[in-house]
Every structure is written in structure tokens, then in C-alpha cells.
């Protein structure tokens, strides 16, 4: 049986999906621009601002639902999760923006010595973000286990990346800083993807899990 609050929850979910789509595009573009040392800051900043506006809409709608419908049980948990997730997606956008600002802040860097690639890390991060957003879409406990496994791989890649950077011979210091910051931001994006999965698991099942 559907209730008036259901349509409000659906509206928030749609807002979160829009935010998630923009965040995915922002991360992709920031990495593309980073690899090519191109400036995509204006576009990513515009998307980041749009994400922020949508997150304010989520907050307003959630407040309205709480005031008018006084949700309980799963409705309450879902609403609580949506508010937290809106912040997590906002962080995706913000980290993409941070990546796009690196080159603006420190200038272009030279690629010297051994090639250092973040492709594998990027691909895992895109995967974990996509898994987290699909959990917002619908309940699927099997996703949780894949997500936990990808998170663990990301942590290893992050650490391995830092060690590899330390060992890079004759590297441009700007390159070291740029890569260290970027892999750190990517690792933080993955953390927020885990928070999303934790929030949605609590919303769906009432059980609290920790993936990190």
C-alpha cells in the first residue's frame, strides 16, 4: 500500500540520482583533465555547484517530509540515509573539483623517469561509486560484498601508489604532489561510497554495518 510520504521519498531519490550522475561525470572529467594536464575547472565547478543546489533541495524536501509526515521505521531510516548520502555525493563533486584545482594551484608538471599510472585506481573508484549509487536505486545485498572487496583493493592501491611515488627517481616534485593529492582524493571518494552503502544498508535492513 502506497502512502503520501512515498512520493516525497521518490522525489528525493530522483534528486540523489541526478546528483550522482553529475558527480560521476565530474570525477571522470577531473581525471581525464588531470591525465592530460588540461584545465576543466570551470566545468567541474559548475557541476559541483549544481550538486550543491540539488543537495539543498534534498535537505528542504527531507525537512518538509519530516514536518508533514512524521516518518517512522523504514521511512525514517531512509530519510535519514538520504540526508547523509546527499552530503556524501556532494563530497564526490568537491573532491573532483579539488583534483581539477591541483594543476591551477601548482602549475604544470613534467613527466620524468618511470611512468606512474592511476588508471587501475580510477577504474576501481568509478566502480565503487557506481555500486554505491546503485544501492540508492534499489536494495541488493550482494552489491555490499562486492563493494567491500573493491574498497579493500582501493586501500591497497592507495598505499601502493604512495610507496611507488616515494620510490620514483628524478621525478618532478610537482608531479609527486599532484599524484599524491589525486590518489588521496580518489581514496576519500571511495570512503564516501562506503558511507553511502552503510547508510542504505541501515535504511533497508535496520542493521548497522561498517565497510571500512
Amino acid at each position: 500500500m502506497s502512502k503520501p510520504i512515498d512520493s516525497g521519498l521518490r522525489q528525493i531519490k530522483t534528486l540523489l540520482q541526478k546528483m550522482g550522475g553529475l558527480a560521476m561525470e565530474s570525477i571522470k572529467l577531473s581525471i581525464h583533465a588531470f591525465n592530460k594536464q588540461e584545465d576543466a575547472h570551470i566545468q567541474i565547478e559548475a557541476w559541483s555547484n549544481m550538486i550543491l543546489i540539488l543537495s539543498e533541495e534534498v535537505e528542504d524536501k527531507a525537512t518538509e517530509l519530516m514536518a508533514l509526515h512524521q516518518p517512522m521505521a523504514k521511512d525514517l531510516r531512509t530519510l535519514k540515509a538520504y540526508i547523509k548520502i546527499s552530503y556524501d555525493i556532494e563530497r564526490f563533486g568537491r573532491y573532483a573539483l579539488d583534483i581539477s584545482e591541483i594543476q591551477r594551484t601548482i602549475g604544470r608538471w613534467e613527466i620524468r623517469g618511470a611512468v606512474f599510472s592511476i588508471d587501475e585506481l580510477v577504474s576501481k573508484v568509478m566502480r565503487i561509486v557506481s555500486l554505491a549509487l546503485s544501492l540508492v536505486e534499489e536494495e541488493d545485498q550482494s552489491i555490499i560484498w562486492e563493494l567491500a572487496s573493491v574498497e579493500s583493493e582501493i586501500d591497497s592501491l592507495h598505499l601502493r601508489g604512495l610507496k611507488a611515488l616515494i620510490e620514483l627517481k628524478d621525478a618532478d616534485p610537482k608531479q609527486l604532489i599532484a599524484y599524491a593529492l589525486t590518489i588521496r582524493y580518489l581514496e576519500r571518494i571511495a570512503d564516501h561510497a562506503c558511507y553511502i552503502a552503510e547508510s542504505m544498508t541501515y535504511a533497508y535492513t535496520g542493521k548497522r554495518i561498517t565497510l571500512r
Binding site: M1, M72, A73, L76
Partner: protein, 255 residues
């Protein structure tokens, strides 16, 4: 000696109206100095359960009870227990404020004591003042104690009824939808009063208003078709109910 950990222990309680069984095998322990809310759809047995806790169910012709209700560890349905004494120890506040219309505010509060043989004016005065203060009504009526109880507003009348229940120094208070006939301001006053009363008494409240149960109670019991479906802390029951029936009821997805 340690006090009894639970004020009430309901064991295998069945209640009937004639042949119709309205409560089925209820088992629950109710803590002292806490508010316990009983929620559930109309006809689920909430009020019957409440009335079983102070032997008021049996007043209805054809009504009967099987099982035990331990109050301070003693079964109130034992043969040697006087139901009138039990009803004095376990006060009841009803849905509709029911002050005695021909009596003054003072008389409404003092009547229970007088029926219990208290005649000394000083004792009555101090008991009336204490009860009205506990019911958060004293400041509003102290200069007008001889006015008719029926002349008070609905919310004041309900607090007067609570003062009447408190005057005989009960050990627990049962409330059957005490705010259903009141506006939000009067409701807020009764809800604050309920929280204050829980510092001294076991308060058990039947309510249709789930937000009210969530606001005032420490523990909540959900009844459905005469069965106790779920009972636990209010926070847990409203945020994370264990039983799908509770989930459906509190999110309004019944039917």
C-alpha cells in the same frame, strides 16, 4: 532489600468479553518510573489490557480474565486481593475528562481521600495542594478552588482528573488516550506532566497517536488482534521495528 525490578509482570494473560477472546497470551514486564505506551489499531485490545492492569476489566458484565498480573510481585487476581484496594493503588485517567460536575475543584481532588476515610481538614488541604501541584494545575486554580470542576477548560479538567488520581497516592498511573479530546497546547501540558510523573510512578498510556507515544514513552508495546506483537524501547520500536507487522502499522501501510 532491593525493590522489585518490574512494577507489573503480565503472565499468560487472556481476556474475554463473554465467549469472545480479546487478549491472547499476553506476556510483558513493565518497569517502574518509566512511561510505557500501548499502541495498535482500534479493537486490538489496548484498552482491555490497560483495564486488566487494575482489575477494571471485570467490572464489565460477562468480562473475565485468565492468567496473572503481578503488581510489585503479587498477583492482583489472587482470591484474597481486594480489587478496590488495587484500583486505589493503580490510578486510571480516562479518554474524556470526567470531573464530578457538581463538585468544586477542591472536592474533586479530595473525594478519593474522603472515601478512604480521611476527614482532617489540614490533611485534606495539604493533599489537595500536593496533587494539584503534581498535576501542574495548582497555579491556575489556587485562588479559585471552590469553583466547579466542570467550569475548567478541557485540558484543565484532564489535569484535574490526574490530580484526583494522584491524591490517593497511587503507585502506578494508567492513562487511556488522555489527550484525544484536547487541543495541542493542552496536549503538550499533559505530555510534560506524563514525563514528570514518570520520575515517581510507572505510567502506562494507551494512545492512538504514535507521535505522542514516541514523544512521551520509554517503552512501547504494539498490539494487534489481541496479541502482543512487539515490545521494546520506544526508540528501537519506532526507528527499527523487528516485526514486519509493527513496521507496516507505524508507517501507515496497514490494510
Amino acid at each position: 532489600m532491593m525493590g522489585h525490578p518490574y512494577k507489573f509482570e503480565v503472565e499468560k494473560l487472556d481476556a474475554y468479553f463473554g465467549e469472545k477472546k480479546v487478549l491472547n497470551n499476553i506476556n510483558m514486564k513493565i518497569r517502574d518510573k518509566a512511561v510505557t505506551a500501548i499502541i495498535g489499531p482500534s479493537g486490538c485490545g489496548k484498552t482491555t489490557l490497560l483495564r486488566c492492569l487494575n482489575r477494571m476489566h471485570e467490572i464489565i458484565p460477562g468480562a473475565r480474565v485468565h492468567g496473572k498480573v503481578l503488581f510489585n510481585g503479587v498477583n492482583i487476581y489472587d482470591d484474597e486481593i481486594d480489587p478496590v484496594t488495587i484500583r486505589r493503588k493503580i490510578g486510571m485517567v480516562f479518554q474524556k475528562p470526567n470531573p464530578f460536575p457538581m463538585m468544586s475543584i477542591y472536592e474533586n481532588v479530595a473525594i478519593g481521600l474522603k472515601l478512604n476515610g480521611v476527614r482532617e481538614r489540614k490533611k485534606l488541604d495539604s493533599a489537595v495542594e500536593r496533587a494539584l501541584k503534581m498535576a501542574n494545575l495548582w497555579d491556575e486554580v489556587k485562588n479559585d478552588l471552590h469553583r466547579s470542576g466542570a467550569s475548567l477548560s478541557g485540558g484543565q479538567q484532564q489535569r484535574l482528573c490526574i490530580a484526583r488520581a494522584l491524591a490517593v497516592e497511587p503507585e502506578a498511573i494508567l492513562m487511556d488516550e488522555p489527550c484525544s479530546a484536547l487541543d495541542p497546547i493542552a496536549t503538550e501540558k499533559i505530555e510534560s506532566l506524563i514525563r514528570n510523573l514518570a520520575e515517581e510512578y510507572a505510567v502506562i498510556i494507551v494512545t492512538h497517536n504514535m507521535q505522542q507515544a514516541a514523544r512521551v514513552s520509554d517503552f512501547t508495546a504494539f498490539l494487534y488482534l489481541g496479541e502482543l506483537i512487539e515490545y521494546g524501547t520506544t526508540k528501537e520500536l519506532f526507528e527499527n521495528p523487528k516485526n514486519p507487522l509493527t513496521e507496516k502499522y507505524i508507517t501507515g501501510r496497514f490494510g
